[in-house]
């Protein structure tokens, strides 16, 4: 059952990821990204991260991506034209990417030779209580700093989006 769920949603994630890159229209890309996020949320649940799965849906899919879709609709962004990439990218990009993926997979396989399987429910430390407790004790300072970051982002966004600029 766990394996089945993994394969279904990993498949969806990869498919949506490819779709994101392949589609020329930004709205299609955005929806693909939401698909990736949704399937990742399921995988998080499987790994015991129920709070983070909900946060993934609320924050990522529900807020950030709505913002993206909003901007795409607002700018009425059309499909993009032909690719006119630089020579460097054209010749080396694919090669580099392939090398990148291959290396990462190799390293993961060789450095972490764990064959331990994922069992749903084995790790239940990801509830809202656990996350909250850690967040407001050990990680309190980073948490507060992030709130300042958010504040700065709000101010920055407002300043940037003013009419006068």
């Amino acid at each position: 059952m766990t394996a089945l769920i993994f394969f279904i949603f990993a498949g969806i994630a990869v498919f949506c990821g490819i779709n994101l890159v392949a589609q020329t229209h930004p709205i299609a890309s955005a929806l693909s990204l939401i698909g990736v996020m949704g399937s990742l949320a399921i995988l998080y649940l499987q790994l015991g991260g129920e709070f983070i799965a909900a946060a993934q849906m609320i924050v990522y899919a529900g807020a950030i991506m709505v913002l993206f879709v909003f901007v795409i609709m607002l700018l009425n962004a059309g499909a993009e034209g032909a690719l006119q990439t630089s020579r460097f990218v054209r010749y080396f990009g694919i090669v580099l990417l392939a090398a990148f993926l291959g290396l990462i997979s190799f390293i993961i396989q060789s450095m972490l030779p764990r064959t331990e399987g994922v069992v749903f429910g084995l790790f239940q430390g990801g509830t809202a209580v656990d996350v909250g407790r850690k967040l407001f004790t050990i990680y309190l300072l980073p948490f507060e700093v992030t709130s300042v970051l958010i504040l700065i982002a709000i101010v920055g966004a407002i300043v940037l989006a003013r009419k006068e600029i």
Binding site: I27, L31, I34, M57, V66, F70, N76, A128
Partner: protein
């Protein structure tokens, strides 16, 4: 496998009841609005137009599904089903009553319970905007696009006060599960004041309801479909079942919002009066309803009333009788189910009536007023409410 079968049965029951209720909710809305405006509303199909929803469904199904030529086909077709799926899915975590035991089977009157049930509802509702936004965009129509844009901006803006208003009762009850939330609210202060969150969290409740109106695109926040500005907003280009799907999504969202409001603030299925008194209430309600129907049947205003009203009265009396029978100790299970359903549905019904009532009386906001109201008034109010609540919780705990 027992669990699977049980779940399937429960899902089937809930889905059937919910979909029927949605259809009839529309009938109720039309009737109530009509009476507010001194009209009679649907009257032709069936007694008092009771069969009108059925007729509507048949009409919508058999109608030709026009797909305009200039739309983005994939998204155009996808949007209404995204909307309705996401609207219906949150009902899965809403509990309707306590744990009951029928013979050997022990189960909750709920499809599934998540530790993070409330977060789940929030997550689903926050994704729910895609249906509207996508539909508006894919229609390739400036009115529809404006409707979609308005909808997404409005949803993002009102989600903040909504989330903050929800957080306050969560702090009080210290849980994210609906069941525990209701458990926390059961019992009475001083023996007769129900321990509902609405009493300490009256501001939170108000903010939640207002934001709920906006999240469901209801009057006075129905700018995405403002007919005198945007024709019909995001669903201008939709017809037949696709239109019906959008419609269903709106009503399902209303039910979800009212159900969540009931669970978070109004104590879910817990009665407002202590045990022996609360048992009598449903019997009395249905009894009086039946008697009134009989009385009006004796002095019929229209020709058909001679038959329909006494029939309705009989049904009411029958329900009252069932409630009465359920008081027999041997039928405790029945009583538990009936009582929970009565109070839960009663509260939801009152809130839904409020939605309809508001639609019948209030005019629509202007768009800038809508945004200002969210950011300048609701948001600070909910923040202050949350701060005060957390302060009180922090001071009183331990």
């Amino acid at each position: 496998m027992n669990f699977l079968i049980l779940s399937l049965i429960k899902a089937a029951v809930v889905a059937f009841v919910l979909l029927t209720a949605l259809a009839y909710l529309q009938w109720i809305e039309r009737k109530v609005i009509a009476h507010i405006q001194l009209r009679v509303g649907p009257y032709r199909v069936g007694p008092h137009g009771l069969l009108q929803p059925l007729a509507d469904v048949v009409k919508l199904i058999t109608k030709e599904g026009v797909i305009p030529s200039h739309v983005n086909r994939v998204f155009y077709l996808m949007a209404p089903w995204v909307a309705v799926t996401l609207a219906l899915i949150s009902i899965a975590v809403i509990p309707f009553g306590p744990e009951i035991q029928i013979g050997p089977i022990k189960t909750w009157m709920q499809l599934t319970d998540l530790n993070i049930g409330i977060l789940f509802v929030l997550a689903v509702s926050s994704v729910g905007v895609y249906g509207v936004a996508l539909g508006g965009w894919a229609s390739n129509n400036k009115y529809a696009l404006l409707g979609g844009l308005r909808s997404s901006a409005q949803m993002i803006s009102y989600e903040l006060p909504l989330g903050l208003a929800v957080a306050a009762p969560l702090l009080l009850a210290n849980t994210l599960s609906f069941r525990k939330m209701v458990e926390y609210q059961s019992g009475y202060w001083l023996g007769f004041i129900p321990r509902w969150n609405v009493i300490p969290e009256i501001f939170g409740f108000a903010v939640f309801l207002i934001a709920g109106f906006a999240e469901t695109n209801r009057v006075p926040f129905d700018l995405p479909e403002a007919e005198n500005e945007l024709v019909a907003g995001f669903h201008t280009e939709y017809s037949s079942m696709k239109f019906a799907a959008f419609f269903m999504a709106e009503y399902a969202n209303m039910v979800t919002v009212t159900a969540v409001a009931t669970l978070l603030f109004l104590g879910g299925w817990t009665p407002p009066f202590p045990e022996p008194y609360s048992d009598a209430i449903p019997i009395l309600v249905f009894l009086i309803g039946g008697l009134i129907a009989f009385y009006h049947g004796l002095q019929p205003a229209r020709k058909m009333d001679k038959f329909t009203l006494p029939a309705t009265g009989l049904v009411f009396l029958g329900i009252a009788a069932i409630f009465g029978v359920s008081l027999v100790p041997a039928l405790a299970v029945l009583k538990a189910i009936l009582m929970a359903l009565f109070w839960f549905c009663g509260k939801i019904g009152i809130l839904l009536f409020l939605f309809i009532w508001v639609r019948g009386t209030l005019p629509r906001f202007r768009y800038d007023q809508l945004m200002r109201f969210a950011w300048i008034f609701l948001f600070p109010l909910s923040v202050i409410n949350l701060l005060v609540t957390s302060l009180v919780v922090a001071l009183t705990s331990k």
